[in-house]
């Protein structure tokens, strides 16, 4: 027979082939990033270190404060944190695996090769595990290191940290994988309903728990009784069958510092037993996952891929009709371009769902602000921080979705080129789409934050002016840079926004937000900081800055900054886009 030189390879050889594949891809990716995206890599590395350091400082302060009531509170907090993480990992890994095992082109290639089903699943599982758990390692490591430092933990604690974290994430991630493969194999048609139901239940439980903790603010402030009641509500997470309990117990044991070597050895042994519990259960689940993959992966893939896609008949939405036909005839091409982008946005679940999640979470946080009874100065400071947060979230959207918009027209450029539409109008339509789209959530959320904090009407007005300028400026930066540096060949918005242009957009947007918020905040904070001074004690620049003229001047500077950030990149982008040859 012709295939004489081919033999089925052993599981070990197969695993080595996949490891080599992953290592080669990682190497080329790293080389490419260092060669082409040095700015982005440097920025990510520096910001990660800064972020890690800031988190470490925060946790160090927190654990130092809690050290006096360590045993009860730390254990509860750890259990609450790790158990919520556990639930998130089940869903995130399951969703990631679903995408890569059933929708990805790599799975289609691998299924036509003589590869074992469980090997394909293991290969994609490692990728999903990495994507879903790197955040835990980044957030969890400063927290746990700070805990160890505050507790004076022995060196063995730091040695066990990484094994504990890795052993822990393996369990919920593998559960997520098993659920994903099982659901697709047995209830492919119900998978969306099952996942939605699961997410709704988890979110509802989280909201109920969060609301029950902060809904009844203590009239006298935070007292011991209130605190104990709140901690009592978290006790539901301290279940000995949960891997989160094994992890937190093991870490607490490992961090015990004692002068007596025999006691140290005993606590170390206890910690190692908890680690062994995590590792052994993780490995058992991996074996189950392998069995499930062998039994059900190919059948589930066939079932899912063989589904006929539902034909959805789309009628023209009323809002599209209204937008297209309102206004003058001269402005109609611009309106039609806006309507097109609005339609694409509505039909792209990945865009509006992220939008909804991020702004929804922000809204949830703002709704709970009233519970904390901040005084005047704190309320003002937090209101400006919240303004900055809303701006930063908007900037992630403008960088991720608005910046690539011009580039994504690349494959359809021949259509736009043939239409009686000036290139300027294409750029302006993207700007208007981004500006109008960001205005309502940004202004609405900041208004909500200010209302919950009970700040003055003047401050609300200042914030709303800042919001409008932030929306304009961020849209101008994203669209302008997108038109100045388009990549018409690339079809992935993620790749476009992760290049040099996207990174520059994010950096400039962040700087713009910081400057606007600082300029707007200076008069307010000087005013609050000097409010205890006797009348007439304020002099010179401080007196001017805290006067109505000072407030007006800061607003004028904010407006000027907004106009510069809007029109400078837009004009540069339009000029460059006019000359572009696709």
């Amino acid at each position: 027979m012709r295939t004489g030189s081919c033999t089925p390879i052993s599981p070990e050889a197969e695993a080595r082939v996949f490891m080599r594949l992953r290592a080669t891809i990682a190497w080329h990716t790293l080389r490419g990033m260092l060669a082409d995206s040095r700015l982005r890599v440097t920025l990510v590395a520096v910001l990660s270190v800064v972020f890690w350091g800031a988190l470490y400082g925060l946790f160090h302060e927190g654990f130092s404060f809690l050290d006096s009531i360590h045993a009860e509170v730390i254990s509860l907090l750890f259990n609450a944190f790790f158990s919520s993480l556990m639930v998130m990992l089940v869903f995130s890994t399951g969703i990631l695996l679903y995408g890569s095992l059933y929708c990805g082109s790599e799975a289609k290639l691998l299924l036509t090769l003589p590869a074992r089903a469980e090997a394909i699943v293991a290969h994609k599982f490692r990728e999903a595990l990495w994507f879903s758990s790197w955040g835990f390692v980044l957030l969890g490591s400063p927290m746990l290191v700070a805990y160890g430092v505050v507790r004076g933990a022995p060196w063995t604690f730091y040695l066990l940290l990484l094994p504990f974290m890795l052993a822990f994430v393996l369990i919920p991630a593998t559960l997520g994988g098993i659920c994903c493969i099982t659901l697709v194999a047995w209830a492919a048609r119900l998978r969306v309903h099952a996942l939605s139901a699961g997410i709704v239940v988890v979110v509802a439980a989280a909201v109920w728990m969060g609301w029950s903790i902060v809904a009844r603010p203590p009239a006298e402030g935070v007292t011991g009784v209130w605190f104990e009641e709140m901690m009592g509500r978290l006790a539901v997470t301290e279940q000995k069958v949960f891997p989160s309990w094994w992890l937190s117990s093991g870490l607490i044991e490992a961090a015990r510092a004692d002068g007596d070597p025999a006691v140290r050895l005993a606590t170390l042994w206890e910690a190692v037993k908890f680690l062994a519990l995590l590792v052994s259960n993780g490995m058992l689940l991996q074996i189950v996952c392998g069995w499930v993959a062998r039994a059900w992966y190919r059948a589930g893939y066939s079932e899912l891929v063989g589904e006929m896609p539902a034909r959805r008949q789309r009628r023209i939405a009323w809002i599209d009709e209204v937008l297209s036909n309102s206004g003058t005839a001269a402005g109609r091409p611009l309106r039609l371009l806006l309507v097109k982008d609005l339609r694409l946005f509505r039909r792209d679940v990945s865009q509006w769902s992220q939008f909804l999640i991020f702004f929804g979470l922000l809204g949830l946080y703002f709704l709970n602000l009233r519970s904390f009874n901040y005084n005047n100065a704190y309320a003002a400071m937090i209101s400006f921080l919240n303004l900055a947060v809303a701006g930063l979230i908007l900037s992630t959207f403008t960088t991720r979705f608005v910046f690539p918009m011009i580039s994504l027209e690349g494959r359809r450029f021949w259509i736009l080129g043939l239409l009686p539409v000036a290139r300027d109008q294409i750029v302006w339509s993207k700007f208007l789409f981004s500006f109008v789209g960001g205005l309502l959530p940004c202004c609405g959320l900041v208004f909500l934050s200010d209302s919950m904090l009970g700040v003055s009407g003047n401050l609300i007005a200042i914030h709303e002016v800042c919001c409008v300028m932030l929306c304009m400026g961020l849209s101008g930066i994203a669209v302008g840079l997108g038109a100045r540096m388009p990549d018409l060949r690339e079809s992935s918005p993620a790749k476009i926004s992760s290049g040099f242009g996207g990174t520059l957009c994010l950096v400039l947007s962040s700087l713009f937000i910081m400057v606007v918020v600082i300029v707007a905040a200076v008069p307010t904070h000087l005013s609050l900081a000097t409010s205890a001074f006797p009348a007439g004690a304020r002099r010179g620049l401080v007196a001017w800055a805290t006067s109505p003229q000072g407030f007006a001047a800061s607003l004028l500077v904010v407006v000027a900054l907004g106009l510069v950030a809007t029109f400078v990149p837009l004009v540069a982008g339009i000029r460059s886009f006019r000359r572009l040859e696709p």
């Binding site: 027979m1 012709r2 295939t3 030189s5 081919c6 033999t7 089925p8 390879i9 050889a13 197969e14 082939v17 080599r20 594949l21 080669t24 891809i25 080329h28 990716t29 490419g32 082109s105 790599e106 289609k108 290639l109 299924l111 036509t112 090769l113 003589p114 590869a115 074992r116 190919r298 059948a299 893939y301 066939s302 891929v305 063989g306 589904e307 006929m308």
Partner: protein, 258 residues
């Protein structure tokens, strides 16, 4: 040999492939023709193991593709309509990956990789990352990968899409040479001219059923009988109507003139 044994594939109430029985011996180039939605890609996906038949069985060199997928895949090479490559691998690294997955010994793999790189004229860009390849280059690389392990069966889904005339000639010459050496080629195509030029036997699929199964000579005989031209006969067969009455579904089985 490839055997389709009363193969049916349904999606809910709809039947995509209906009771197809077919045997393709060694050394034959079989072309599956048909309009869009006829069931050609579904048939190919079942052959390469991506889809499972709802009824019936498909065997490749005696191995059932559902019950013994790994053994069946060892005998198969597959070129899909849309080539899938790893963007962050070079062409050569991709070929090595395929060779390793097929368990080829290192010295054999090295020789086969060099052979296919030369045959498909990939030398100029074999060491560049696949993300920089054009569609034609990707298609040639996927061809090379599918032939690396000298498969007994080569399955091609619209193989000439994206290839320039030179590459088309390379592929045609290669397919002729390999079929003469005993390889089976199972090819789906829209193009009647391609089937006429290359195929030993032709199957015309319409709405999941094989309406015609036979050699190109049999197809020409049918043309003579019906006093029409080849294209007209093909269009008549794929529209489902009898001669002179297009659009009417006769509901017959295939015209098997083999």
């Amino acid at each position: 040999m490839i055997e389709f044994d009363h193969v049916t594939r349904t999606y809910g109430p709809k039947t995509a492939v209906s009771d197809v029985s077919l045997a393709i011996p060694r050394g034959e180039l079989f072309a599956l023709l048909g309009p869009n939605g006829a069931g050609k890609t579904t048939t190919i996906k079942m052959l390469v193991g991506l889809l499972r038949p709802s009824r019936g069985a498909i065997r490749v060199c005696g191995h059932d593709v559902v019950k013994e997928p790994r053994q069946a895949h060892l005998h198969l090479g597959y070129v899909p309509d849309e080539p899938t490559l790893y963007d962050k691998l070079t062409g050569r690294e991709f070929l090595w990956f395929i060779a390793d997955m097929f368990g080829m010994p290192r010295h054999t793999a090295r020789g086969c990789i060099d052979r296919e790189i030369a045959a498909f004229e990939l030398g100029e860009f074999a060491d560049d990352l696949a993300e920089s390849y054009s569609l034609g280059m990707k298609q040639r690389l996927v061809f090379a990968a599918s032939l690396l392990h000298d498969p007994d069966v080569l399955v091609l889904d619209e193989p000439m899409v994206g290839l320039d005339p030179r590459s088309v000639r390379i592929v045609k010459d290669l397919l002729r040479a390999r079929t003469q050496e005993g390889m089976i080629v199972f090819m789906s195509t829209h193009t009647l001219a391609m089937a006429e030029e290359m195929a030993d036997r032709v199957g015309i699929m319409v709405r999941g059923q094989l309406r015609f199964l036979g050699t190109v000579a049999d197809l020409r005989e049918q043309v003579a009988i019906d006093a029409t031209n080849l294209e007209h006969l093909y269009l008549e067969l794929t529209s489902g109507g009898p001669a002179g009455r297009p659009g009417e579904d006769r509901g017959d089985g295939p015209r098997d003139v083999s």
